[in-house]
């Protein structure tokens, strides 16, 4: 066991962390594109009429489209003249989810803002952060099309370990590597939400006072 851990520490962890950086890169691209498309769809939705109906239909379809299938669709159905990297294909496959999420969240925020609850409206920011973490976790699907991200690194290492016990140790390290930043992220998110809430409620009470 100690030998295995030493080997994993020296050989595997640098590869895993380098791979995880790709997961964050994919999530970053997906959330940026999701914000752009999602906000545009939200504005279109607010305009109502034919454009609004079109935007609502698009969001419904994007919500229903499974990310994994979208990824294979992009990989196989794009014309060969359009050369897109594996990282970009995974990021693009996550855009329907992130854009639909941003549209829903921004419309929610606007509704809260109109009803006078700025605090509830500001939930938009932590919601986007939460979506970012979901995207980091979902980007592991890239392993299925050969993108060299964190899950690929784990699976490559697992291929070299014939014993189930050793593999489970490896998987536990993988879960911890993804889980620690995720849980820390949520912790920071909760802290930021609390601070923001306190500040806003303080300002509100000062205004009332």
């Amino acid at each position: 066991m100690i030998g295995l851990l030493e080997r994993l520490w020296s050989d595997f962890l640098p590869l895993l962390w380098a791979g995880m950086a790709v997961n964050f890169e994919i999530a970053g691209i997906a959330i940026a594109l999701g914000l752009a498309f999602g906000l545009a769809l939200a504005f279109a939705h607010l305009r109502g009429g034919l454009i609004g109906t079109g935007a609502a239909t698009a969001v419904t379809l994007m919500r229903a489209a499974p990310t994994f299938v979208v990824m294979f669709f992009l990989l196989n159905a794009l014309p060969r003249e359009i050369s897109v990297s594996g990282v970009m294909i995974v990021a693009l496959s996550l855009v329907p989810y992130s854009a639909a999420f941003v549209t829903d969240s921004s419309l929610d925020a606007l509704r809260h803002l109109r009803s006078g609850s700025a605090l509830a409206a500001l939930q938009f920011l932590p919601n986007v952060m939460r979506a970012f973490f979901v995207l980091v976790m979902s980007s592991g699907a890239g392993a299925a099309i050969g993108v060299g991200e964190g899950i690929s690194a784990i699976l490559r290492q697992a291929e070299q370990l014939p014993a189930l016990g050793d593999r489970l140790v490896l998987f536990a390290i993988g879960v911890a590597s993804f889980g620690v930043p995720l849980q820390l992220g949520f912790l920071v998110l909760r802290f930021a939400q609390r601070r923001l809430g306190l500040r806003l409620t303080g300002r509100h009470s000062r205004r009332i006072g």
Binding site: T60, L61, R63, A64, A65, P66, T67, F68, V69, V70, F72, F73, L75, N76, A77, R80, M137, S138, S139, G140, A141, A143, A144, I145, G146, G148, G150, I151, S152, I154, L155, R156, A158, E159, Q160, P162, L164, R167, L168, F171, G174, V175, A176, F178, G179, V180, L182, Q183
Partner: protein
């Protein structure tokens, strides 16, 4: 002394006689194929005196009239045929030279590739093609293959040296990098391998080196060049081979009967005399097949002028024809109508052949089982984890909380892989085991989140309702109702996540269609239809779940 000499002479005579009787036919007398070839070539040369200007002259005569033979070879197929400036090298190039020398004519090489080699023959721009062409039943209708075959390739599975893989039993559940359209992909699929598809074989060695692919399957003639590189050979090794394909030289089907016959006889002689074998060794390509063939063509039964038509001596063409479905004609008609009406090429390979149709049907069936199973598992795990999180027993609550944190911290792909690893350790690999593992993983991942929502709802209810007012079960029912939105959201998420089960070899629709497109065309159409199918199924699940949510919320309101 004289008697001894007489005895020795008698022994020598006996030995020569014995040796003579025991010698193979090819070493005893003028061999039959050689005589037949000599007669054929002599007759053809004789015809050149009068027949060069005649129409319908056999190609062999035309070649003698021109003084050279036009041979199509590849420009870049390492070890087999490469060209640097005007210099051509490789096994096939040397075979072409040896053939021309045997015919006594010069050569004019032409560049061909996989797409152009047959059309160039049909257009009479070349007389002969020697260009890594596998002999299959489909091509038999397009060109006349020369028998015996001059080489045989097989698909070889290549992977890291330290990886213990010796046969099909080690393949199930593993990902193998392959090229689209490779006929051997179907064999990998039937043994439970997952395929990672690439457009070009050229990238496979690089993808092996950078770790994208742990295993790659491709023609051994393709990997032959990679294995000449010391670094590659030190890290990787062929694991096993399958799907043998004989390679044939070919001429046009009509107008070249004498040329084809002459080439048949020359091939036969080249095998028997080890010419092919020597050329293969010179270019360091696998020569096992040629060694076998030499034995065959040295045998008296095959070393005859009729050997190249004797089914006991020659190899059959590879049967690649897939049985069409009974509605294949209607599908083809619809494809044509659609293309002409819209200008968009439509290809529906999943409907035109029996293996593809059968894969499609089982894929749809398994997808529905998977979605139903994932929804049920999500609901059950949600209720179980929700109950554990709502328990008054501290250790049970903490255990449930740890499970929730663990599952939330694990990317779904990793959760699936862990479930598959455990399932495969307990049961032999099968489609049902992969489906079961996927259902468990999807249920756990989504059920833990939904269960957490139930637990949180229970906590708020306990604050609002004093303990004595409601029984634990009634309170739990209210908690389920209160968290209905979350439960429904995660049920939808579970349904949306089902295609990812293909990652661990569950034979659902994505997996089935990937398999179909690996040996047929129409990728764009196939994946577009797949996206439409899954989106519609998820929308249906959303609609059903919304009804469930309404029922749960009505129950909450009633209580």
């Amino acid at each position: 002394m004289g008697a001894m000499r007489a005895f020795a002479a008698a022994r020598l005579a006996l030995a020569i006689l014995t040796l003579g009787l025991g010698m193979p036919a090819w070493a005893r007398k003028t061999p039959a194929p050689d005589a037949a070839l000599a007669n054929l070539l002599e007759a053809a040369r004789a015809t050149t005196r009068t027949g060069c200007a005649q129409a319908n002259t056999d190609r062999l005569v035309r070649i003698f009239c021109a003084g050279y033979i036009r041979i199509g070879v590849r420009d870049y197929y390492p070890l087999f045929a490469t060209r640097t400036g005007d210099v051509r090298e490789g096994y096939e190039v040397d075979v072409a030279r040896a053939l021309a020398a045997k015919l006594g004519v010069a050569i004019e090489f032409s560049r061909v590739n996989a797409a152009s080699r047959i059309p160039l023959l049909a257009e009479d721009r070349i007389d002969l093609v020697i260009a890594t062409m596998g002999h299959n039943t489909q091509r038999d209708g397009q060109v006349r293959f020369i028998r015996p075959h001059y080489y045989r390739s097989e698909t070889v599975l290549v992977g890291p040296r330290e990886l213990a893989i010796s046969g099909w039993k080690d393949i199930a559940g593993r990902t193998v990098c392959v090229t689209i359209g490779n006929g051997s992909n179907a064999s990998l699929v039937s043994h439970g391998a997952r395929l990672l598809l690439f457009d070009e074989a050229g990238v496979l060695p690089e993808r092996l080196k950078d770790g994208t692919c742990t295993l790659a399957a491709q023609d051994d003639s393709f990997f032959a060049e990679a294995f000449t590189h010391r670094g590659f050979a030190a890290r990787f090794a062929p694991k096993f081979g399958f799907a043998q394909v004989p390679w044939g030289m070919a001429v046009e089907r009509t107008g070249g009967e004498k040329l084809a016959r002459a080439l048949d006889l020359i091939s036969q002689i080249f095998h028997r005399d080890g010419i092919f074998l020597e050329l293969a060794r010179r270019h360091q390509i696998a020569a096992g097949f040629l060694e076998e063939q030499q034995k065959v063509w040295r045998s008296p039964a095959c070393d005859t002028d009729a050997g190249s038509t004797d089914s006991n001596c020659i190899l059959p063409a590879l049967d690649t024809a897939l049985e069409p479905t009974r509605f294949a004609g209607a599908v083809a008609a619809f494809e044509d109508w659609f293309s002409s009406a819209t200008g968009v090429e439509l290809s529906l390979p999943m409907l035109t052949t029996v293996p593809a149709w059968s894969l499609l049907l089982s894929g749809v069936g398994n997808t529905l089982v998977l979605i139903g199973g994932a929804l049920l598992a999500t609901l059950l795990f949600a209720l179980g984890i929700g109950a554990a999180l709502s328990s008054t027993a501290g250790p049970l609550r903490w255990l449930a909380r740890s499970v929730v944190i663990l599952l939330q911290s694990s990317p779904i792909v990793l959760t699936l892989v862990v479930a598959a690893a455990v399932a495969h350790a307990l049961f032999p690999f099968s489609a049902a085991v992969a489906l079961g593992a996927a259902i468990a993983a999807l249920g756990l991942a989504n059920g833990s989140n939904a269960g957490q929502a139930i637990g949180e709802a229970m906590r708020t209810l306990r604050l609002e309702w004093p303990a004595q007012e409601q029984s634990a079960s009634a309170l739990f029912a209210r908690a389920v109702g209160r968290s209905a939105t979350q439960i429904v959201a995660f049920l939808i998420n579970a349904a949306k996540g089902t295609p990812i089960a293909s990652f661990i070899g569950a034979p659902e629709l994505l997996s089935a269609l990937t398999d179909i497109t690996s040996f047929s065309s129409g990728r764009a159409t196939t994946y577009t239809l797949l996206l439409i199918f899954y989106t519609l199924v998820v929308m249906l699940v959303v609609s059903v779940c919304r009804r469930l949510q309404a029922v749960l919320e009505r129950g909450k309101a009633a209580s």
